[in-house]
């Protein structure tokens, strides 16, 4: 592979090509679509967490002017398949996940009926006229209580609240625990979170009866996976379904799903022969779009007096809510696999029990299982250091595998591709002026302040992943076409929704073809254009999607070389490709560029024998391994003794995501990720009461981080290329969210340490801290 030196886009902070339409307000999000004859839907949702539906009266609603129809489960469910879950667990018990409630509701927000009307106002008014008679049933909303004898059952027909159990185990755990000088124990609650993309979900379905074909525009991260899964629900074959992810206003995993509304609108469009639109309200987004995290873990760590960590034993309860969404059972397994973090140890065991409760499903929210792991292991490192009176940095350094020990086999059975954990730690310490920072802390403490310094040295799993470990293929697809004009169209199977691959992929393609970026258009997100793909999640897009494009270019260059040789009357072996030109060895003036080659390739009047016209290639890239980005975050905080409020004073982030295509975009991903962490660490939490009522259904009750909450960052990076893909990219979409939460938590706990406070669960709300200070 020759990469053009002349263009040199790779590694440059180039401003994004997608931005002009966004800053001018002329981009098209799903709610911006205006299809003639569109009917609007509103969904009536259950106000109860568990109830029997005795009756639904739709007459008055249906009679309202402008209303086209009102449908309930009885009308819809016999015509629609069940919502699928793609993840597996050996003993998984799944309730039947119908599109609308089937005589019973299992969470607040459960769709009960749908109104279709000429406009959204009529639909909204009609909702109020539907009368539902509920008989409320016993509710279980706490996963630990759900496991107790006599607990109400989420789905009585399953006979248990246990959805599945799963374990990861390796090494001789009992022997390691027997060797230990001490067993350190800690319980940690990983609170439930709401992803809250600023654009709620929404979709428009349009069925063309003539072709028997359906187009679904939906605010999703995964148009291709939806195209694979939707046929089973609505009875149209995959090759008559087109899914379009238009401009998508943020996902963070919450749009990595197939939702009932997507099937419902598709079905209604087929049934009513009209385009059907559904746009989620914020309240619906909070109650009926997946939540994240929600695990309770009991951790036991076997240690020697000198600090050597021998083994970790963990028991985790994962609250999965009332239904399985697309990947629900897979999320806590990622926690188990990543629990060892970047540390050597001899044995590990984590047992997960997935538990049904009367709440919205949990699934992949930014980090998806890994933030739980990084938080647990990084808290564990600090707890071990504190309990044994050791230095937390030395303790970490002692357990890092050295760079020459990679590929490194973890206690949980993963193979980390490459790493230099010491390097990021040292760099972060330098940027944080570590020694001065500790002196400053000592001074602040002396003056009576609660000043804490926290560190996290995290590792995560990205570029998911080899197909063997994925539910539905872990490859990625791409297609590159040199158009007749010499312009280039690059089509990717990944589906960016803010990450900027229209830019970073143009950089990659431009360099590899030796053409200006301006000549390249990157297409994504429409299954009729990007024929195949596995979409965007798990920080996979650039590493995998980018590589698929390079594979296409390799094929095109090989083909173009033959054509060039023919046109230049040279031997193929004598033709070299450099900086966008094919030249004859020893006669550099004899050359030919893409524009001429493309014209000849498509005019097809003067081609070598047996040469297929055109200059286009597509490729599937199947990675050999995942990638394992890592880094060190250092945070200094001050806790206000009188209010319990936490103020972040310093923030240093050093991340290693391998080679960076566009450092400006990497920085944006890291900063955005840290903001999610900041919310998780300090104030975000999704709350249901005992009755399963959602108390955090609006931004008022579920505050997101705001500009004033954000500290000034000092950011740095190191580069340890990944051997898992030819560009050496690791991925960075979730790094901030995985690395920052434990750093902030460790800093706050360090601030409170002089008061003898050992551990507080997140979020570290002022009230919780104030109580901890005052209840001593």
């Amino acid at each position: 592979m020759t990469v053009s030196k002349r263009t040199g886009y790779f590694g440059k902070s180039i401003k994004r090509v997608e931005d002009p339409r966004l800053i001018k307000g002329i981009a098209t999000y799903v709610d911006d679509l205006r299809l003639a004859g569109t009917l609007h839907t509103m969904i009536l949702r259950s106000p109860y967490a568990h109830a029997k539906i005795l009756s639904i009266q739709t007459g008055a609603a249906a009679a309202l002017e402008g209303v086209v129809g009102v449908f309930t489960g009885t009308d819809i469910n016999p015509n629609c398949g069940l919502l699928p879950c793609a993840a597996e667990a050996p003993d998984l018990k799944s309730p039947k996940h119908t599109v609308l409630a089937n005589g019973r509701v299992y969470y607040v927000g459960h769709p009960v009926a749908v109104v279709v009307a000429a406009d959204r106002y009529a639909a909204r008014d009609a909702l109020d006229l539907i009368e539902v008679d509920y008989d409320s049933l016993p509710v279980v909303s706490d996963p630990e209580k759900a496991l107790q004898d006599g607990s109400p059952l989420t789905h009585p027909e399953l006979g248990t609240n246990v959805a599945f159990t799963w374990s990861v185990a390796s090494g001789d755990l009992d022997a390691e625990f027997a060797k230990a000088d001490r067993i350190i124990k800690q319980r940690m609650v990983h609170q439930r979170l709401t992803p809250m993309a600023i654009e709620p979900r929404g979709c428009v379905a349009s069925y063309n009866a003539g072709d028997g074909a359906l187009t679904l525009w939906t605010s999703t991260q995964i148009p291709h996976l939806i195209r694979t899964l939707l046929p089973g629900m609505i009875g149209i074959p995959e090759n008559r379904i087109r899914i379009v992810a238009p401009e998508v206003g943020g996902g963070f995993g919450s749009k990595l799903n197939l939702y009932v509304e997507e099937a419902l609108c598709s079905h209604l469009s087929m049934r009513l022969k009209a385009p059907i639109k559904w746009i989620e309200s914020r309240r619906e987004n909070a109650m009926a779009t997946i939540h994240g995290r929600d695990q309770v873990g009991e951790y036991e760590i076997a240690v020697k007096k000198n600090g050597t960590i021998l083994a970790i034993r963990a028991k985790t309860i994962a609250d999965i809510g009332s239904y399985l969404q697309l990947l629900t059972p897979a999320i806590p397994t990622l926690t188990g696999l990543m629990l060892p973090g970047c540390y050597k140890m001899n044995a590990i065991r984590m047992d997960v029990t997935g538990v049904y409760t009367h709440k919205m499903s949990t699934d992949a929210y930014r980090g998806a299982g890994r933030p739980e792991a990084s938080y647990a292991i990084e808290r564990i490192m600090d707890l071990v250091a504190a309990d044994l009176g050791l230095d937390r940095i030395k303790l970490r350094l002692k357990h890092f595998p050295k760079p020459d020990k990679f590929p490194f086999h973890t206690a949980s059975g993963l193979t980390y591709d490459s790493g230099n954990y010491r390097a990021t730690l040292k760099k972060a310490q330098k940027l944080a002026s570590w020694d001065t920072l500790l002196k400053r802390q000592a001074k602040e403490r002396k003056s009576g302040k609660l000043f804490g310094v926290g560190v996290s040295t995290y590792v995560e799993i990205c570029a998911l992943g080899p197909s063997k470990m994925m539910a539905a293929g872990g490859w990625e697809w791409g297609c590159v076409r040199i158009e007749m004009s010499g312009k280039v169209t690059a089509i990717t199977g990944v589906t960016p929704h803010g990450q900027g691959q229209e830019t970073s992929f143009a950089q990659i393609v431009a360099d590899h073809l030796g053409v200006p970026m301006e000549d390249i258009v990157v297409c994504r997100g429409d299954t009729s254009v990007a024929h195949y793909g596995r979409d965007t999640y798990g920080s996979r897009a650039t590493a995998l999607g980018g590589t698929a494009l390079i594979m296409c270019i390799d094929k095109i260059v090989a083909k173009a070389r033959q054509l060039a040789a023919h046109l230049l009357r040279a031997k193929v072996e004598d033709v070299v490709f450099r900086d966008g030109q094919f030249l004859v060895k020893g006669a550099p003036k004899t050359n030919i560029g893409w524009a001429t080659l493309a014209q000849e390739a498509y005019l097809a009047k003067n081609l070598p024998a047996n040469f297929e016209p055109g200059l286009e290639a597509s490729s599937f890239f199947e990675p050999t391994n995942c990638t394992y980005p890592f880094g060190t975050h250092i945070v200094a905080v001050e806790v206000d003794r009188s209010t319990g409020e936490v103020k972040i004073r310093d923030y240093v982030a050093v991340d290693d995501c391998g080679h960076q295509v566009n450092p400006l975009l990497v920085e944006g991903q890291v900063q955005g990720g840290i903001a999610h962490s900041l919310g998780q660490a300090l104030f975000e939490r999704t709350v249901y009461d005992e009755e399963g009522q959602l108390l955090t259904g609006e931004f008022m009750d579920y505050p997101l981080p705001r500009a004033k909450d954000i500290p000034d960052y000092v950011m740095g990076s190191t580069v340890t290329p990944s051997p898992s893909n030819p560009m050496g990219i690791k991925g960075v979409g979730e790094a901030g969210t995985i690395g920052a939460t434990p750093a902030i938590a460790n800093a706050v706990m360090d601030a409170l340490a002089p008061l003898g406070i050992r551990h507080l669960d997140l979020p570290l709300l002022p009230e919780k801290i104030w109580r901890a200070i005052n209840d001593r």
């Binding site: 994004r16 001018k24 709610d31 600023i198 900063q671 954000i710």
Partner: protein, 140 residues
């Protein structure tokens, strides 16, 4: 009818976005008589006779407004959904305070949520736009 629905559905100016309809996210921010307002809390009739500027009207004769330029240069947007509201809030902010500190900018963005960027680049962008505008003024 809410002003935001009037703008989006009647005028088909869909650059003004809806993120909450409860005055909490700022995605629907527009300028009414030059002042930033959340168009999900203004009724269309209340705006009758007022001059409304939406994101579509911010660029002049095809030239990007300094705030638009800076948002682009500083990578102050990812998914872009909050961006129109951020830019219009930024315009109002700089009108009232042409040389804001970072803290003042953060304070001025109190009513605008972004879930993607983590705000740092947005603050950078407003800071850099302030410089651009003051340079332009000096030149004029």
């Amino acid at each position: 009818m809410l002003l935001v629905h009037f703008l989006r559905d009647t005028c088909v100016l869909t650059g003004t976005h809806v993120g909450c309809e409860t005055t909490l996210c700022g995605a629907c921010t527009v300028l009414m008589e030059g002042k930033a307002v959340k168009s999900c809390t203004v009724l269309a009739v209340q705006a009758d006779g007022s001059e409304i500027t939406t994101i579509e009207g911010v660029a002049h004769n095809g030239d990007l407004h300094p705030l638009q330029q800076s948002f682009w240069e500083c990578h102050a947007l990812q998914c872009g959904y909050c961006t129109p509201g951020m830019i219009l809030t930024g315009i109002d902010l700089l009108r009232n305070n042409p040389k804001p500190t970072r803290e003042e900018i953060a304070h001025g963005l109190e009513g605008n949520l972004c879930r993607c960027t983590g705000y740092s680049h947005i603050i950078d962008a407003i800071e850099s736009a302030a410089q651009k505008i003051s340079k332009e003024r000096q030149r004029a």
